[in-house]
Subunit: 147 residues, 2 copies
């Protein structure tokens, strides 16, 4: 299992995303692997019956978010020569759905960003944590440098 | 920062250590990097005054553990062509001292094993977690397969 064949970038659209993509591309080139990219949009309830009068989420907003995510990923993917079949944008729980996508597509290395453990960064780093524990494959956490 | 130049294996002497070493060697070869290996022996107090009558830890035992660790690492290192100058065995706190060693030696990728999050494996995985959050460089967590 030491020769990677399919690398998945878990993109989060932060300013540092470029670092993650560059590192993944570099490894994909050195290993001559297939490269894919995914982005999971944190899911939210369309309607919460308890708070219905307060929450009014247009279904169109959901579609707009998905479209926007797909455009963003397509832009990143074009710079990495990733074909559209290897771009996945979905609503879900990033902590679980990145791992699920990896498993479904025989990914053997997930590349994601890792933040330090101070303040807000601790929260941002939790997806990397979850991937680390749940993934059935190797995980490369790219240390995001402060710009 | 996308070209790795110095990779550090954080070895824990578990049965799965070979997987971590093989993956690290593979990357080191593909990137043509320097490869180092370290093992931190969990530190313990020589004497606990509260329990002195019950605990009698011979200083010689500490030396023996260090020697044993060094022998083990030397054995692993010889299979990886790692010179003695790049083998570090120390007493300390694995969660912090692996990261410290990496920083002191300009390591840009730490390779360590990651366990699932069930039962005892959750505890074993905590070093990978700590490295992920504290490291100033990238971290590759090699998913340890049940043998």
């Amino acid at each position: 299992m030491s020769h990677y064949q399919h690398i998945l970038i878990a993109a989060d659209f932060s300013d540092h995303n470029k670092q993650v993509c560059e590192q993944a591309r570099e490894i994909a080139q050195r290993y001559q692997t297939r490269l894919s990219i995914c982005h999971i949009i944190e899911d939210f309830p369309i309607t919460d019956f308890a708070y219905e009068p307060m929450i009014s989420v247009d279904l169109g907003m959901r579609d707009a978010m998905l479209e926007s995510g797909k455009k963003h990923i397509a832009q990143l993917a074009s710079g990495l020569d990733i074909p559209s079949d290897n771009q996945w944008v979905e609503f879900g729980n990033p902590n679980h759905d990145i791992v699920r996508l990896a498993q479904e597509n025989n990914v053997d290395l997930i590349v994601t960003g890792s933040h330090g453990r101070h303040g807000i960064q601790l929260l941002l780093g939790s997806t990397a944590n979850a991937i680390l524990h749940h993934a059935h494959c190797d995980v490369l956490a790219v240390r995001l440098q402060k710009s």
